[in-house]
C-alpha cells in the first residue's frame, strides 16, 4: 500500500531509527519530511499534506498534541481527509490512558518493531477504508482529537473558583478588567489579547494557562488561540465549505471557529 508520512521527533537518532524501521516494515510508505519540533511539524504537514503523522509528545516549543490540534484546525476546508496520527512517547501514564480512551494509536519508546508493525497495520486498515470526500472519516478523526484535548492531558483547575478579574498592565497602571466584561481572549505568541467592548489589553500569560481558570460554561474555546464569552456571541454563520464564523454583540470583530469546535454551533 502506498502512503505518505511525516515524522516529528526532536532526538536525531530516534528520528533516523523510526524512519529506518518504518521503511523496513512498510516499503510503500514515503517519509515526506522528518522534523525536530512542533512548529515545523505543523508547517510541513500543511505544506506537504501527508496521510500519516508520527508525533513525539514532548518536543521543544509545541507538544505533539498541540501540533496535532493546529494541523487539524488549519487543514484546508477542501474535503480532503485529515492525516492519521500515531503518537510516540517515552513515558507518560496520563497520556497513555487518554490515548486508549480516544482510540488513538501510539507507540512507546524504545520502539519495538512488533508494536510498530501492529500500528502500521491499523493505519493501513484505516487508510484503506477511506474513500474520497468521506465526511465520516474527517468527523471520526476530529472526534478522537476532541476527546484527547478534553481529557486529563490538559491541566484543569482542580476545583479552584473561576477568575473574576484580569489584571492587565498598561505602562505603570494596572487595569482591573472584570472577566464578565471580556468579549474574547486571543493568543498572541507569549501574550493573550483581552478584548472588551471598549478597548483591548495585553496580558503576559499563555492562553493555555489562562484557560483552566475560566468558567467553562461561560467561556467557550472556539479555536486553539481563541476563547469567547458565550453570551457575547450574536450569530454563527456556516459557509458552503462548512467553516463557521461568529459575530459579536456590540463589537465589529468576526471570529473564525475551527473545525474542532464547530460542532458546538447547532440550532437547539
Amino acid at each position: 500500500m502506498k502512503a505518505t508520512a511525516l515524522i516529528a521527533e526532536d532526538e536525531p537518532l530516534l528520528a533516523a531509527n523510526l524512519k529506518a524501521e518504518l521503511q523496513a516494515l512498510w516499503p510503500g510508505l514515503e517519509i515526506v519530511a522528518s522534523v525536530a519540533h512542533g512548529e515545523a511539524a505543523v508547517q510541513q504537514a500543511l505544506a506537504l499534506r501527508p496521510q500519516l503523522l508520527f508525533l513525539d509528545i514532548r518536543m521543544p516549543g509545541m507538544t505533539g498534541l498541540e501540533a496535532a490540534q493546529a494541523i487539524a484546525e488549519d487543514w484546508p476546508h477542501d474535503g480532503s481527509a485529515l492525516p492519521v496520527v500515531v503518537f510516540v512517547t517515552a513515558y507518560d501514564e496520563y497520556a497513555l490512558q487518554a490515548f486508549d480512551q480516544a482510540a488513538v494509536d501510539y507507540v512507546l519508546k524504545p520502539v519495538q518493531p512488533a508494536r510498530l508493525a501492529q500500528a502500521c497495520e491499523r493505519v493501513q486498515a484505516v487508510l484503506a477504508r477511506r474513500t474520497p470526500a468521506d465526511a465520516g472519516a474527517v468527523e471520526s478523526a476530529l472526534g478522537q482529537l476532541r476527546q484527547l484535548l478534553g481529557s486529563g492531558l490538559r491541566p484543569a483547575a482542580a476545583g479552584a473558583p473561576p477568575l473574576v478579574v484580569i489584571q492587565a498592565a498598561i505602562g505603570p497602571v494596572i487595569h482591573m478588567v472584570p472577566v464578565a466584561e471580556v468579549l474574547y481572549f486571543e493568543a498572541a505568541d507569549k501574550y493573550v489579547r483581552v478584548i472588551t467592548a471598549e478597548r483591548e489589553y495585553l496580558v503576559r500569560t499563555a492562553l493555555r494557562e489562562l484557560l483552566p481558570q475560566l468558567d467553562a460554561q461561560r467561556f467557550w474555546q472556539i479555536h486553539r488561540g481563541t476563547v469567547v464569552r458565550s453570551d457575547a456571541i450574536a450569530t454563527a454563520l456556516r459557509d458552503e465549505a462548512g467553516k463557521v464564523t461568529l459575530t459579536l454583540r456590540g463589537h465589529p470583530d468576526k471570529l473564525g471557529v475551527s473545525r474542532l469546535y464547530a460542532h458546538r454551533f447547532k440550532p437547539m
Binding site: E11, P12, N17, P60, G61, A90, Y91, K109, P110, V111
Partner: protein
Amino acid sequence: MRPIPHNPSMPTPTEAPALRPGDFLRHGLIVAGFNTFLGLVLALNREGPWHVQMVYAQSIGLSIWALMDFGRLLVRIDPETGWPAGWRRIALQGSSILAGYVLGSSFADLLYDRPLLEMWRASPRSVLSYLLICIAVSGAISFFFYARGKDQMRLRQLAAAQRDAAENQLKLLESQLEPHMLFNTLANLRVLIALDPPRAQLMLDRLIAFLRATLSASRAPWHPLSAEFERVQDYLALMQVRMGERLQPVLDLPAELADRPVPPLLLQPLVENAIKHGLEPHVEGGRLRVSARREGDQLVLRVRDTGAGLPADPAEVPAEGTRFGLSQVRRRLATLYGEAAAFELAPAPDAEGGALATIRLPWSPAA
C-alpha cells in the same frame, strides 16, 4: 495532577479533628466508672443508705465532667492537644470543678427532697472534705485526659512525619531516575547498538555510572567536587546523545578546587532543571555551563543555561517536579550548612538570556 509538594521539615498538621465525639463519650464513661468506685468507698465509710453516697458521687462527678469536657467547645483550644493552653486550661478545670460541685450536689439535694445546700450550713467541715476529695479526684482525671490528648497528638505527628519521609524518599528517587529520561536514553541506546556498537558501549557505561551514583548518593555524606563534576559529565554525555547539537555543555572546574568536599549529586537537580526547563523546550537549544569558583571564604557553584529562561511571574509556572528538585536542594543545604549556605535561581544577568542557578557553600564546612 500530582499531589502538591510539601515541606517535610514541617510535618503537615494532622487531619484528625481536635475534638471527636467518641472522646466525649469515652471520657464520660471513664468518669462514671470512677464515680461508682468513689461512691462505694464513701458509702462504706458513712452511715445511712448506700445509694445516697452513690447518687451524690455520680451527680457531682458527671456535672464536673460535662462542664469541663463540653466547656472545651466554648473556649479556644489548642488543636494539637484538644485542650485550652496554659492558664485557660487551669481556669476551665478549676471553675468546672467548683461549679460542678455546687450544681451536682444541688441536683442530688433535689432528688432526695432536701433543702438546697443544707449541708453547707449544717456541716461546713464535711462540705470542705467532700470538696477536697472532689478536687483531688477531678484534678487527677482531667490531667489524665489532658496527658492522653497530648500523647495521641504526638503519635499522630510521628505517623505523619514518617509518612512524609517515606513519600519524600520515593519522590526523590523518582525525580532522580526520571522515567522519561530513562526510557528515552534506552531508546537511543537501542538504536546505537545496531548503528555504532563502540559508541553504544560508551553510552551504556555512562548510564551505568549515572545509575550507580544516583542509587548510592544517599550513602556517603560527602565526595570530592571532581567526583561531582564526573557525575554531571555522565549525565550530560547521555543527554548529548539525545539532544545532539542542541546541547553544548561546558564544565569548568579549576584544578585547585577538585578535592573540595561537597554533598553528592547536589548539582544534579540543577543541571536536570536547566535542561528540562531551559534547553529542551527551547527549539534552538543552547549552552549549559557548570562552574566552580572560590570567592573569598565561599565555594561558589553555578549552573547556567542559555535556554528558555524563567517565567515572568516566579509563582506561576515552575512545574511540580522542578519545585520539588529545588526545594530538595534548599533543604539539603539547610540541613548540612544551616545559614552558612545559600541557593538562588535567577534570570541570567546578561544579554544571552536563560537562567542562572548559584549555590554558595562555606569554604570550610567543618568550621
